[in-house]
């Protein structure tokens, strides 16, 4: 579904991704774990073409998106939905308009129909009667739910999640985890999640990849990663600083 080959990226001389190889399987939940500031978000943004690599190739459904022009890249991006770390809801729009936004932009459906679909998506993420509210009136957890509703508005094939549970209380973390699993089951979408929340990762992942010093140093099922012999992986999942 998504394949990264020898992807490298540096910012101001600092190497963030170093000849990285990664394959994301279709219809699975893949969680990419790694230290804070280790380049996980940069990696995720490469997958949707928000950042272009210095070298290497990124294939989405077999198409190398690195060399695509803006128009073709936009067509590819229509396959994606993305939930940002702080949801990135548009401040100037209410919740309903936020969720309806991709539908308004990319479908020719009548306004009434679009708002109905937006309501349905909001219901799917467990929100009712919030369409009229502004993003500033919502709690962190609600914002993430609205962000997820917007991400799935166009029924995308791939959903990217940038640290979906960061900054939430344990109960809300669990609720978001359940929501991700339910959404994946309902939509059969390929989900890529960036996280450093280990309990949550082992709860929801079909596959786990660990990013360390710009490379994927471990990739496998949760059981495989748990039994990894790599001390860096073991230290990370056990939360040891050395």
């Amino acid at each position: 579904m998504i394949r990264l080959e020898q992807v490298s990226k540096a910012f101001k001389g600092q190497i963030v991704l170093d000849h990285l190889d990664l394959e994301i399987e279709k219809g699975k939940i893949t969680v990419i774990i790694g230290q804070s500031g280790g380049g996980k978000s940069v990696l995720l943004k490469h997958m949707i073409g928000l950042i272009r690599p210095d070298s290497g190739h990124i294939y989405v459904n077999g198409i190398d998106i690195v060399s695509l022009d803006d128009k073709k890249l936009n067509d590819i991006r229509k396959k994606f939905g993305m939930l940002f770390q702080a949801a990135a809801l548009f401040d100037s729009m209410n919740v309903g308009e936020n969720v309806a936004f991709p539908l308004i932009e990319h479908t020719r459906l009548p306004r009434k129909e679009i708002m109905k679909i937006a309501e349905e998506k909001l219901l799917r993420v467990g929100l009712k009667n919030v369409s009229h509210k502004m993003p500033s009136e919502l709690s962190g957890g609600m914002r993430k739910r609205v962000g997820l509703a917007r991400a799935i508005a166009l029924d995308p094939e791939i959903i990217l999640f940038d640290e979906p549970t960061t900054g939430l209380d344990p109960v809300m973390c669990d609720a978001i985890d359940r929501l991700i699993v339910e959404t994946q089951k309902q939509t059969e979408a390929t989900c890529v999640i960036i996280s450093h929340d280990i309990p949550s990762t082992f709860k929801i992942a079909n596959k786990i990849a660990m990013l360390y010093q710009g490379k994927i140093i471990e990739m496998g099922t949760p059981d495989e990663v748990r039994s990894s012999t790599n001390p860096v992986v073991q230290n990370f999942i056990e939360g040891k600083s050395t």
């Binding site: 067509d75 991006r77 993305m82 990135a88 548009f90 936004f101």
Partner: protein
């Protein structure tokens, strides 16, 4: 020696870099301007923000500019018996210079700063990235409507500022200082030509372009959280104001 040359060259390098980025953003905005869809609702919303909401501040500024201009020229011209020229001087100053420049500076302070702050906030909270991920080009969605609105609305505001400024000058000249109303108006008609007004409006459209381009540019390239947004907003106002005054001189030298 090389260190000092590097130190001295740094601001020049930065200036060239920033200028290049602004030109590229402008070219990108021009390209997206002619590509569908034409976002009329967004353009109308920005026209309301840049134009209608700036109306009161521009009108107050223009009225008092006209009034103080009448007062100052009256005291100056009285020394050699030229009071009858107060009306023409006020009208010429306003249509050629003060109307376009004051309007642009007021709109920069009100709308240019808001453009930088709004886009800057959107940038640091990943709302701009969100637009990209939803296959919506932020230049077309955020920047083109703002530039278009400013280019269209600043001249309209300038026409109103010219008019209100002259009315202010008339009030002070005729009602407070006792200049004959007929002479005040006759001199305006005699000395002010259509070119004075149209050239002033061409300048104001250019100022609209400058303030919106710099405002959106500063916002669009904001980095560094809340502090970055504050810095971008301040720089947008300072750079746009200075650019307006510099380009005013160049345009005036070319036009009149």
């Amino acid at each position: 020696m090389i260190y000092f040359l590097e130190l001295a060259g740094r601001p020049i390098k930065l200036f060239v870099e920033e200028s290049g980025k602004i030109v590229l953003l402008f070219l990108s905005a021009l390209t997206w301007l002619v590509r569908p869809p034409l976002r009329l609702r967004l353009i109308a919303k920005q026209m309301e923000f840049v134009g209608v909401q700036s109306l009161s501040v521009v009108m107050i500024t223009a009225a008092f500019a006209g009034m103080v201009l009448a007062l100052q020229t009256y005291y100056g011209f009285r020394m050699f018996g030229g009071e009858s020229l107060v009306g023409a001087t006020v009208a010429l100053s306003l249509t050629r210079e003060l109307g376009p420049v004051f309007t642009a500076l007021m709109v920069t302070g009100r709308a240019g700063s808001a453009m930088a702050a709004e886009l800057g906030t959107m940038k640091v909270t990943e709302q701009v990235d969100a637009l990209y991920t939803m296959s919506v080009n932020p230049v077309q969605y955020l920047i083109v409507p703002r530039i278009l609105a400013a280019v269209l609305m600043v001249p309209i505001l300038t026409i109103l500022a010219d008019f209100i400024g002259i009315v202010g000058g008339y009030f002070v000249g005729v009602h407070l200082l006792g200049i004959n109303s007929g002479i005040f108006m006759a001199r305006i008609v005699e000395f002010v030509e259509m070119d004075d007004i149209t050239n002033g409006l061409i300048k104001s459209a250019f100022f609209g372009l400058i303030l919106s381009l710099i405002g959106t540019f500063k916002g669009f390239y904001t980095t560094g959280g809340a502090e970055g947004v504050g810095k971008a907003t301040t720089e947008a106002v300072v750079y746009a104001s200075v650019s307006i005054l510099i380009s005013d001189y160049i345009l005036t030298a070319l036009m009149f």
